[in-house]
């Protein structure tokens, strides 16, 4: 177990290192673009050169990278050229906002996905199974920006029930979270439902379930006590890995609703070639990806004692 964790940690550090180098090299393609973004498209060539010189962009790329890496390790993420404040000052509050949005969305997506998946998988090929399958294909086919548009036109335009933006200008408002959460849940629950359905259908064909039914146990009890425990192991992994996907969806949703979160931050940083901000966001993204994967693996062995770390 300890060896496993240590190896995972090593992989994570290595991955973060490679990603940070790749991102850095990638933004090297067009360094002058940074100056244009900061000074505006009508700045003169000399102004840009002076700005680049003053902000240390003319040093060799290797030095700039190493300097950034050194600072990053001790917790100094650098200065954001877009927001003109230290990166950590914008990063952490935004990350917390996204944590709230993503957490609520993931909770509901899992709840709906698991429930529908179990119902569908109880009788494979039955009417409910088909209904759930088609529904989940339908909802995963609607891109987030499209469902955002649909929901806005229904709840904001027609019914005038909910606010159409989620800027949270006057403090935190739960009402403004409803639409963004709905968009994320609609897009994400289908995949969880399909995976749960497959897992549940597989469990229902096993011998011990047949035995339990044949010995005359009530059907509900067979489902609850025998089938569910084993059927929910695989979906657990799926849900954990879904977090990484959620991060993509969050960008669109936050942009569409003007929610001030991590996704919108990353989008703005990319558009403005705000290199230190992008690097910090990329590191967070990789950290989340590797962490969820590790948690998924550990949780999997905990839920399924037949699997052991090798």
């Amino acid at each position: 177990m300890l060896i496993f964790m240590a190896r995972r940690f090593g992989t994570m550090v290595l991955t973060m290192l490679v990603v940070s180098i790749l991102v850095f090299l990638f933004l090297e393609i067009n360094v002058e673009g940074v100056a244009i973004k900061v000074l505006g498209p009508y700045s003169s060539q000399e102004q840009r050169q002076i700005w680049l010189e003053a902000n240390g962009y003319n040093d060799a790329a290797v030095w700039r990278y190493l300097r950034w890496l050194g600072n990053f390790v001790i917790g100094d993420f650098g200065q954001s050229v877009r927001f003109k404040v230290p990166v950590s000052e914008v990063l952490w509050p935004r990350l917390a906002n996204t944590g709230i949005l993503g957490g609520i969305a993931l909770f509901f997506a899992s709840l709906i996905g698991l429930t529908l998946g179990v119902i569908a998988g109880m009788r494979e090929g039955g009417g409910r199974d088909r209904a759930v399958s088609v529904t989940s294909i339908l909802t995963t086919s609607v891109p987030e920006f499209a469902s955002a548009t649909f929901l806005i036109s229904i709840f904001v335009f027609q019914l005038q029930l909910l606010p159409g933006t989620s800027g949270m200008a006057e403090g935190f408002d739960l009402e403004q979270l409803i639409l963004p959460v709905m968009v994320l849940v609609i897009y994400d629950f289908g995949y969880i439902a399909r995976m749960t359905r497959a897992s549940m259908a597989e469990v229902m064909t096993t011998h011990y379930i047949r035995t339990a039914i044949l010995k005359g146990l009530p059907y509900g009890q067979v489902i609850r006590q025998h089938a569910l425990r084993n059927a929910l192991i695989a979906p657990f992994t799926v849900i954990m890995l879904q977090i990484n996907w959620l991060l993509s969806g969050v960008i669109v949703v936050e942009w569409a609703f003007g929610y001030k979160g991590f996704g919108a931050l990353l989008y703005e940083a990319s558009l403005n070639q705000d290199i230190y901000l992008i690097e910090a966001c990329a590191m967070v993204a990789v950290f989340v990806a590797v962490m969820t994967q590790t948690l998924a693996d550990i949780g999997y062995t905990y839920l399924n004692p037949r699997i052991r770390f090798s």
């Binding site: 088609v134 891109p143 649909f150 806005i152 036109s153």
Partner: protein, 295 residues
């Protein structure tokens, strides 16, 4: 003389076999519906010039409601006009060309890169596998959309750059799938036979292994096509898509979204178009999977 000695059953032409494979989809109604939707949009794209009532960039009265008359009163804007007075129906019809050109092209390029990587990693194993798998993991540990935004924001928004970005971001995923399939297939007898015959590794990979891995890959390609359509739409929505003024479904939503609170029709119809196309690909993939599992 000798080639006459053995009687080999005549093999049907590949075109015929392909058509027969395609006909199998009729067995699944989900797949048939999906195929019908895709064929519908393909026809719309091909005959856009005939079908569209207006030129895609011609302007008339702005923000006409659906069913409203055109400026000279001789024609009807069936789906209304956008903020610049361009006919929405015509723009959707012409926009289908963009999507149906770039999405298959980008998916094809991604497979062109991903398949050799997966074959090499799965067949050669060892160091090749380790290096390729590590880089695939690095790229896949990134949220996909972040990757797209980073690439497009740096190299600029254009059709060819979308193809490059999709290739770069999808190839690792394809590599992983191919690798998994190859790991299973490389231990088959026909592969050993080919090795004994002394065939070159690349010939074995491309001629012996790849055709036998095509089933899951076709299903995956269908799903991926749907996802690439979503990606192109999303990039358009974020303002990183195909450059204006030519119609692009995602871009149409992005331009008219600010009016969605009081004039939602301008953004809704392109959304319906893109969702239906993605639905077509997903249904087809599901149908193909169902049919391929049956036999």
């Amino acid at each position: 003389m000798t080639d006459q000695a053995v009687s080999v059953p005549r093999r049907e032409s590949s075109v015929l076999r392909f058509a027969r494979g395609l006909a199998l989809i009729r067995e699944s109604w989900v797949g048939s519906v999906g195929l019908a939707i895709i064929v519908f949009w393909a026809l719309v794209a091909i005959f856009a010039d005939v079908l569209a009532p207006f030129p895609p960039n011609a302007t008339g009265a702005p923000m006409t409601l659906p069913g409203g008359p055109s400026l000279d009163g001789s024609m009807i804007h069936y789906l209304g006009t956008d903020q610049l007075g361009r006919d929405i129906l015509s723009r959707i019809i012409f926009g289908s060309r963009q999507v149906l050109f770039y999405a298959p092209l980008a998916t094809f390029c991604a497979y062109l890169v991903g398949i050799p990587m997966g074959l090499a990693a799965g067949y050669r194993r060892g160091l090749t596998d380790d290096v390729l798998s590590f880089f695939a993991n690095v790229i896949l540990s990134f949220p996909v959309l972040v990757l797209y935004i980073l690439i497009i924001a740096t190299i600029g928004a254009s059709g060819s750059n979308i193809v490059i970005a999709v290739t770069f971001a999808s190839a690792p995923g394809i590599m992983r799938i191919v690798r998994g399939l190859v790991l299973d297939l490389r231990n088959r007898e026909y592969v050993f036979a080919a090795e004994t015959r002394g065939e070159t590794p690349w010939r074995i990979m491309l001629v012996e292994i790849l055709p036998n891995a095509r089933g899951p890959l076709i299903v995956d390609a269908c799903l991926r096509l749907g996802y690439v359509v979503i990606t192109i739409g999303t990039l358009g929505f974020l303002g990183l898509g195909l450059p204006p003024p030519d119609p692009d479904w995602g871009g149409m939503v992005s331009e008219t979204r600010q009016f969605a609170m009081f004039m939602p029709h301008m953004a809704i119809y392109p959304c319906i178009a893109i969702s239906s196309l993605v639905l077509g690909f997903n249904l087809l993939a599901d149908g193909l999977r169902e049919v391929s599992m049956r036999d």
